[in-house]
Amino acid sequence: MLLFRLKRTLKLGIKSLWMHRLRSTLTTLGIIFGVCSVIAMLAIGEGASREAQESIARLGSTNLIIETVRPPEEQTDTGNVETVKSYGLTYADAESIRNTIPNVDVAVPIREIDQEARYLNRKVAIKIVGTIPWYTEISPIRLMRGRFLSSTDLHHQLAVCVIDDQVGRKLFAFDDPLGLDVKIYGGYYRVVGIVTRAATGKTTDGFDRGPAVVSGDSGGVVGNIYIPLTTAKSRFTELTASFSGGSQSVERVELQKIIVKVTSNRQVLQMRDIIDTLLNHIHDKQDYQIVVPLELLRAAARTRRIFSIVLGSIAAISLLVGGIGIMNIMLATVSERTREIGIRRALGARKRDIIVQFLSETLLLTLLGGVLGIILGSIIPSLVTHFGHMPTIITGGSLVLAFGVSAAIGITFGLYPACRAANMDPIESLRHE
């Protein structure tokens, strides 16, 4: 019996909506766009934040990254035009960290040099990363073939290198790079291994996110070539010359980075203070900074929340507008069907029967709009991903939210017209033309 009632009510609702197809469609559009924008906005927001989080997570949540920064310029130049300014992290710093601070898993010194690599007649811009075998501990790179740098390489300052798979493709094309020699700055280095940047976790998109740990401003750099730190030290100068304001300045930097890995991410923040104290003691200038990915992660989570709230409220407003549109139309429908209401009342319909009838019509409209909005809202993010090259993630939560909100809007904005219909005087309604 209840089922019959439901069936009848729905059938009638569909019928009367179908009778005013254009009107129903236009009304539903409001909800469709509302729901669609809720889903799309949340998906874009989620995608952006996930991307940020992943690139931070790739830095490693148990890592601390100590970077060399140029110290603030001092006005103590003694007229000497050409001076060698030494600053930044040193090999000694790395040693001190490794030897004096407890709970350090590994401390990996990194030296970066922008260079060109050549093979046969091909050349590509690369970044030389001079480091030690434990680099693999702190970086998400994954060995594809061959081996990574070894202690022996380090000890004997061997001219060997490990290359990125992208470098391999660009430089060696169809040749197998393993065992071949690549020429960098007059020296030859034998390729002993090929690595790839492992994606941490699943992402919905296949975008390249630039070099992993050793990122920095890598203009035109294809990828990294890893060589033993000792080899880098003996073969490449630590001096860089630059011209600015007519004067030449020469800078000397030993290490660009030291990456410290601690045993658990609870120690990360504490460790930063310890390292800061230590380095502060050694350095007389503020020529380093400590980046803590964990902190960045937390900041990113905050940003993400704000981002989602902002996008969500914009979308919610459009849903609200859609709801008002629905209410408007339902009021028109009610006054148009005054006579029908009178007839039904005369034939024994109670007020609540009339409310149910009109409310179910509104709900039908909004839920239809909700479903179509969800479909459309699921398509738009993938278009954004495809054409806008932005990652998007549709979460189940946003679908449920959008659907629930559209249903809530149907009830909220349908209730008033339905009550108005129910409260009409049956005699007046019957007389209505």
Binding site: F4, R5, K15, R339, E340, R345, L347, D353
Partner: protein
């Protein structure tokens, strides 16, 4: 037992500052199975009486017993229930619902009384056949002639087997042939023992009734009993 028992029934409307008395001190008693005609010029209170009898309205004062039950003080839901169960309405302009077909229109009163799908479909089919529309069950009202539409309305009025049928100028919108058909259907209902109250201007229709009630200015002017 009297189907309708009315004592000192009054209905006044407040029109701005003016009080308009539509019905005043009407006493009426209608026995089961009677055929009653209500006549009178427009504004005499016919419609008001019919609305009160049909429980669409509540009297300002006085008492109305329907089958012994005092309905003058019931609330809206209870009145709806009484309209649905005990009263069948026939209107001048048929008042079928345009979106519904013949069978669905007839089912409507049963729908609100919670009949099952099968039971209401079966009964609606029987009623449609009884009024001679057994072959037009799926037609929309707009596809039927006026006479046919009014017959659907009669079938609808009978759906819940009411104690009383109220007809407001049932032939008013029909040509004389269709009107005669409708009257013969109503006559047949009377033969079956239904209580019938018809509001009409037409003296010929009134002449078929057992009792004619003339209203004037909200009062019963005179009553004529036709033989019986």
């Amino acid at each position: 037992m009297a189907v309708v028992h009315i004592e000192k029934l009054c209905k006044t409307y407040q029109l701005g500052l003016v009080q308009l008395s539509a019905l005043c001190d009407v006493d009426l008693e209608i026995e089961q199975g009677r055929y009653i005609a209500v006549m009178g010029p427009s504004g005499s209170g016919k419609s008001t009486l019919l609305n009160l009898l049909g429980c669409l309205d509540r009297p300002t004062s006085g008492r109305y017993r329907l089958s012994g039950e005092d309905v003058s003080t019931l609330d809206d839901d209870q009145l709806s229930l009484i309209r649905g169960k005990r009263i069948g309405f026939i209107f001048q302009s048929y008042n079928l619902i345009g979106q519904l077909n013949v069978i669905e229109n007839i089912e409507l009163p049963m729908f609100y009384q919670g009949f099952s799908e099968q039971a209401s479909a079966r009964r609606a089919g029987e009623l449609a056949t009884m009024v001679g529309l057994g072959d037009r069950l799926k037609h929309k009202p707009s596809e039927l002639s006026g006479g046919q539409q009014q017959r659907v309305a009669i079938a609808r009025a009978l759906a819940n087997d009411p104690v009383m049928i109220l007809a407001d100028e049932p032939t008013g919108n029909l040509d004389s042939a269709s009107g005669a058909e409708i009257l013969s259907v109503l006559n047949a209902l009377h033969q079956q023992g239904k209580t019938l109250i018809i509001v009409t201007h037409d003296t010929e229709i009134a002449a078929r009734a057992q009792r004619i009630i003339h209203l004037l200015d909200g009062r019963v002017e005179r009553e004529i009993h036709n033989g019986a």
